[in-house]
Symmetry: C2
Amino acid sequence: MTSPTTATPAPAVPPAPAVPPAPAVSVPDVPDVLGRCRALVRPALADAVAQLHPWTGEMAAYAFGWCDVGGAPASGASEGKGVRQALAVLGAEAAGADGGAAVGGAVAVELVHAFSLLHDDIMDGDGTRRQRETVWKAYGIGPAVLAGDALFALAVQTLAGTPGPRTAAAVRRLCATLAELVRGQAEDLLLEDRPWTGPGAVRPDEYRSVAERKTGSLLGCAAALGGLLGGAPEETVTALDRAGRHLGVAFQAVDDLLGVRGDPAVTGKPVHGDLRRRKKTRPVLAALAGDGPAARELAALLDSSFRLDDAAAARAAVLVEEAGGNAATVEEARSHLDAARACLRGVPLARSAARDIDALIAFLLHRAV
Amino acid sequence: MTSPTTATPAPAVPPAPAVPPAPAVSVPDVPDVLGRCRALVRPALADAVAQLHPWTGEMAAYAFGWCDVGGAPASGASEGKGVRQALAVLGAEAAGADGGAAVGGAVAVELVHAFSLLHDDIMDGDGTRRQRETVWKAYGIGPAVLAGDALFALAVQTLAGTPGPRTAAAVRRLCATLAELVRGQAEDLLLEDRPWTGPGAVRPDEYRSVAERKTGSLLGCAAALGGLLGGAPEETVTALDRAGRHLGVAFQAVDDLLGVRGDPAVTGKPVHGDLRRRKKTRPVLAALAGDGPAARELAALLDSSFRLDDAAAARAAVLVEEAGGNAATVEEARSHLDAARACLRGVPLARSAARDIDALIAFLLHRAV
């Protein structure tokens, strides 16, 4: 399933102004690509957020990592990577347009992403994200519901107000994605009540479908909106969408891996948090699918009624690794990244943007393997 | 401020199959008008809700009063009046089109209304609506957040997918309304922390502005979408929007009145519930604006730190009446209903639909006076 390209991860150096830009022939520097896209989109995103009521606007800015509670500029670097806005910009560039053509779509997908994190954190009861309190924890549940609604409305309003002949098609695409995101969240919440083993256990294809809806649909939408607003033909828009969806499934797998064995300083999440909460993630489900002693001990641990303390969660992490859950998840990620690349190779794309997208894909996998 | 037309309320008889329909020359029977519009819109609304995930679909159907918890058909009559869908249908008919032209817009506004009730009930902590548990009370906060999101996404998706040359304009209008609704809810929540009297007290114009955003914007949008999808010229669409906004402010005033002095069997809300919760409503604010003994006693009661029990809430209701709060609110409602009528008289409308809208306006006022 692996390809030579996948085996050569892009450098993961943090953005450092002192380092000269890499020469044009080398692999693109992904933090530079993300930074360039961020710089292109940020003014319009900030303008959109500035339209909100000051109260919901502060919560939105807090969610984006721009400010602390109270509105003072954020003290720590707690912004997201901005993968969705980058995919929108690169989608337009891949269609041969200026990245600026994608800005309305890029703003919309970043707003939708912020909305979904905000509401999902309420539903999942997650109190920490990117090493800070989540919005509901910092501002209260009611205000966080409201802030999410404001971001949701702003997203569609921004895209619908973007001038151009393909706005209506873009809005239809965003709306379909919103519906899919919400459906994915419903399915994800229902997974939690399913048994770990036996006939009712969650099958890998079910988990993959949820990951595609929850994560893939918005990444696909981002790239597709960029292509669409950049004037790409329907075939290219579809390929960008499908590539983004595969990337999303891979991205979710990597995120799950980080949740099992990741460093909280990198992930911003508590160590073994997903295990302690008995969250159904890909590595755990893959581990339980085996029939060795590690799988059986893991199933017994997860089926037990007592609370998983630090030691039990650490033991579960060891068992997931021993039962091959992590390896299977890495393989899942790799295969979907390969599929994403195959989608992109099937259509004509502007070379520079295609290389940037490819580097981004490698970079996202490199986080975990 | 009252006009001869306003002084002649439409009959408020409940729908009763045994009573023959009124002759064509008389004032329209509003329950019949609401029923006709409901019958026109219901199949498309039910089709839209059927697209949801079964879980969020059940919560949506519960919110519409179609089923009980668990999905069995609802045992009691707990549907809303359907004023928004009726305004959309009548807006199209007023433009000379068939009411069916408005169905996409009517479905969208009913979905948005259901979304906003669902999320507002979470934020306001309201446990009862239409004599049943609210969705968050019946299903939990997280699921209710999700169901609201699903309705929101479905609303925009349904309208964006409606064929026709004016869909893009309709979507822009709906999005602006969604943003305004959310802003109104933010302002409303912030009113709760303001003092009852003194320099920081809520001014009538502030309250009116919140009522226009929270209630008027969606009623205006409903009528305007009907007109727009029915092919009305811009001037007529604007007049329908403005009329709906005035109607919304009047409607909110009437709702506030029912909250102070209403019969729970009619309103579906606990008696004196708004007073017990110290909610800032128009009758209370109007009463406090006076300087007589009733206003002073009311202010002292509301400023006190103890919980308002049944007796205290009943006393507050008497004081609101004595201090003229109810009379001022009735006057406010009348003046906005007159303004709504004036908006509609300023543009050419199909006669039959204009009469239906006029009757609907009178009917809504008649609930409280």
